[in-house]
């Protein structure tokens, strides 16, 4: 569990993070989304204890990160966007170093090293020098380092940068597997598609503030004042569809083209069901009828245009 309580960071006269209040329950993957300069990196660096907040607190698993840093670090795995590794070590030596630095039990370390090496797919490079690894492999090694001590919380700042599509997919699967094991993950990105598919909750940040936070459904529902409905039919029923729909309450912005149409509906789900019943009762040969879910991307784009502030 991660708690960011009234978290604030000021640099000179600028507020990089403005009284952030977020609680991420155990086992969640929380995506922090926002454009460059939104305060994502600053938030993650405060959450892992690298930056001291100007005000507010960060608690990980109930432990205050700034009051008891060494105790809190046992629960935290951290990976930043642009990082480097100790090039003069072998892959297993690098992981062994961090396993010891996290004060894992001596007997558990060799087994755990093999396990994470397997998890990130670096088995054949176990005894290779790090300086000979490709960038993608080093990124995977970085992820292995972040999870070597079985952290309860993972803080990942743009972890997919530098990874090829296959490695991104592997990363998603790895994060899902970690979530299934109960790990809480806070992951930041300004690339929505990286997060949309597997985050259980997201937070949209802009100018240091959290403008929306919650599950994808909650956020899009909160944002939507109307539903966008798409429908399709067979035969030449366009005029009939148009006439019927325009007569119904809550329907607006109807557009019909060929055997397809799209309209906005302002009303509850029951109302939408009533619209469907009406069309069917009118004998229109419908082949599809459904709500078009508004994506987070739509919201993100609105955010970038300052439409949600």
């Amino acid at each position: 569990m991660i708690e960011l309580l009234q978290l604030r960071k000021e640099f000179d006269e600028l507020v990089a993070v403005d009284d952030l209040e977020v609680t991420i329950p155990a086992g969640e993957i929380y995506g922090l989304i926002g454009p460059n300069g939104a305060g994502k990196t600053t938030t993650i660096r405060m959450a892992c204890g690298l930056l001291t907040p100007t005000a507010g607190r960060v608690r990980v698993n109930g432990v205050d990160v700034h009051d008891e840093p060494e105790r809190a670090q046992q629960f935290i795995g951290y990976l930043s966007d642009f990082f480097s590794v100790y090039e003069d070590l072998k892959v297993w030596e690098y992981l062994d170093y961090f396993a010891h630095a996290y004060k894992m039990r001596e007997a558990e370390i060799p087994g755990r090293i093999d396990q994470v090496i397997q998890q990130v797919g670096l088995e054949v490079k176990r005894d290779a020098m790090i300086q000979g690894l490709s960038r993608g492999m080093k990124q995977r090694l970085g992820i292995a380092r972040a999870i070597i001590h079985l952290p309860k919380v993972l803080l990942l700042d743009e972890p997919a940068s530098g990874l090829d599509p296959k490695a991104r997919l592997d990363l998603r699967n790895l994060l899902r597997a970690l979530r299934d094991q109960g790990t809480t993950i806070l992951i930041s990105s300004h690339i929505l598609t990286e997060l949309e598919g597997f985050c259980t909750s997201i937070g949209l940040m802009e100018k240091g503030r959290m403008v929306r936070s919650g599950t994808l459904e909650e956020i899009t529902a909160e944002e939507s004042k109307y539903r966008v409905v798409r429908l399709a039919w067979t035969g030449d029923s366009a005029a009939q569809v148009e006439a019927r729909l325009k007569a119904l309450p809550g329907v607006s912005n109807l557009m019909v083209e060929g055997g397809e149409g799209v309209f906005r509906f302002a009303g509850p789900e029951d109302g939408l069901a009533a619209v469907l019943r009406e069309l069917v009762a009118a004998g229109i040969p419908l082949v599809s009828f459904g709500e078009v879910k508004q994506t987070v991307e739509d919201l993100y784009l609105k955010l970038s245009r300052n439409e949600v502030m």
């Binding site: 006269e13 460059n36 994502k40 100790y86 003069d88 070590l89 170093y97 630095a101 100018k207 240091g208």
Partner: protein
């Protein structure tokens, strides 16, 4: 003890630096160099076997000392800044390693190849030394001094590295260039009323051990009224200075660069007291280099001016901490003299402490120099003058630290240097042909004439200068409050 050697940071360096092939190569190179030294010594001295081994031992021990010192400086000065530059330091800071563990790992680990090469040649030099007729205790004391000296250099280099964002070859070259004068300055102190200060260099202690007299006879300097050896004094100075470095590193190793503050306010006061105590502990009124209490006062003033500057620099409050203190103070939750507040009250305390130390020294040394001979009034005037100028300079640096300048402290120091250079030029130009005019201008614009109140200072002009500085201090304080009062703004788009 096993835990100590299993320090992960140390193990990492051992693994990276001492891979079998590299270690074997280093050992072979050491053997070859030792053989070459042995051959060259044989060329110089081959009639007397004992003298030959002495010569061989001395050359080898010199080489070991130089290699160890330079290796330690070189590797430790890059140990932290290098990690910052390569973006690996954040991961080290987010582990459960404590500052002490990181410090030990870096101090012993970063120069591990240097220690290894010296270790490889150690049996050869010990055997040569014994065959040369030196006692085992002499040899062990020599190596103890060399190792402790190298460790202190390592700590100082780590300190510099902690304050750097990236590695700099310039710092390294500067350190190498300073090493020689730092070693030789010990002999200059030996010929002064503070002979014990010679122990700051390792050479008087080593020369004393072997009876070398190249730079004069190595005696036993006075320390708190007792005659002690340079070996003891060097070890004492290195251990105590090393302890200060450890304290500063321990406080700051896991902090972000912007949040580093070398010493707390209390520790800064203790440091000032430590230096004053050392100075008077080494004072020898009965040495052949006579000194009067007035001259002691001048020395104390110069030393305390340096201490005040150092204390001021070491206790500058980082921007954000100062801002938080300001807000807490406005809310009535913090006092003006809080440890996160402005540094000037602590500078005043340091100056008062310096005066009290002189008083204590005068009382302790009243048999050698009667109390009436001490320059009580002049010292108070001199110290007040220096204090006012330093408070003004430190507050100016604190103000610079609140601006958005890059490297604000460095730029602030440069501005101050510019001011004093301009004041010097003004005194030179306007005082051409008139010594009094030059002294008047210097007394008005700088604290330097106060160092020698009786001969250089022009009192009326000094007081006028002090009035100007007090006005400057008031102005800087108001500028600082104005800046701290500014509301924080939400950022425009930019980097995270």
């Amino acid at each position: 003890m096993e835990e100590f050697w299993r320090n992960p940071e140390l193990v990492r360096h051992v693994r990276a630096e001492l891979r079998p092939l590299r270690a074997l190569t280093a050992a072979l190179v050491v053997l070859v160099i030792a053989a070459l030294i042995a051959l060259s010594c044989y060329g110089a001295e081959h009639d007397n076997q004992k003298e030959y081994f002495r010569l061989f031992y001395i050359w080898l021990a010199w080489a070991q000392g130089v290699v160890l010192a330079l290796w330690t400086i070189s590797s430790c000065s890059q140990a932290i800044s290098g990690e910052r530059q390569h973006k690996t330091y954040d991961f080290l800071k987010t582990t459960r390693l404590t500052s002490e563990e990181i410090l030990i790992g870096k101090l012993l680990g970063a120069p591990i190849l240097g220690y290894f090469t010296v270790g490889c040649s150690l049996p050869i030099s010990l055997i040569a030394g014994l065959l040369g007729g030196y006692s085992l205790s002499t040899l062990l004391l020599t190596y103890l001094l060399i190792v402790v000296f190298a460790l202190v250099l390592g700590l100082a280099s780590l300190e510099l590295s902690m304050l750097g964002e990236k590695t700099s070859g310039g710092v390294l070259v500067l350190a190498f260039l300073l090493l020689y004068p730092m070693l030789m300055i010990g002999f200059a102190f030996m010929e002064s009323p503070f002979p014990g200060l010679g122990a700051a260099s390792i050479l008087p202690a080593i020369f004393g051990l072997y009876g070398f007299q190249e730079y004069g006879r190595i005696g036993t300097p006075l320390f708190f009224g007792f005659h002690v050896s340079y070996v003891f004094l060097s070890l004492f100075l290195y251990c105590t200075f090393g302890a200060w470095f450890v304290l500063m590193l321990r406080r700051n190793l896991k902090k972000e660069l912007e949040e580093v503050r070398l010493l707390s306010r209390g520790q800064a006061l203790a440091f000032a007291a430590y230096i004053n105590l050392l100075m008077y502990a080494f004072l020898d009124f009965n040495s052949k280099y006579k000194i009067t209490p007035t001259e002691v006062g001048s020395v104390a003033l110069v030393v305390n001016a340096c201490i005040l500057l150092l204390v001021g620099l070491a206790t500058l409050t980082p921007h954000e901490q100062l801002k938080m203190w300001w807000r807490r103070r406005a809310a009535g939750q913090a006092s003006y003299f809080s440890s996160d507040g402005l540094p000037w009250p602590w500078l005043v305390l340091t100056a008062v402490g310096a005066y009290l130390f002189m008083l204590g020294a005068a009382l302790a040394l009243h048999r050698s120099a009667p109390l009436a001979q001490w320059p009580w009034k002049v010292m108070a005037l001199e110290l007040t003058t220096v204090l006012v100028y330093i408070v003004s300079a430190v507050l100016f640096l604190q103000f610079c630290n609140l601006t958005r300048m890059k490297r604000p402290i460095l730029k602030g120091v440069l501005y101050l240097m510019l001011y004093y250079t301009a004041a010097g030029i003004a005194a030179g130009v306007l005082g051409m042909g008139s010594d009094l005019r030059a002294r008047q201008i210097l007394s008005l614009l700088t604290p330097f004439p106060a160092v020698n109140w009786n001969e250089l200072a022009v009192p009326g002009w000094v007081y006028a200068g002090l009035a100007i500085q007090v006005a400057v201090i008031a102005y800087i304080l108001s500028a600082i409050s104005k800046r701290l009062r500014r509301p924080a703004l939400a950022p425009a788009h930019g980097d995270d």
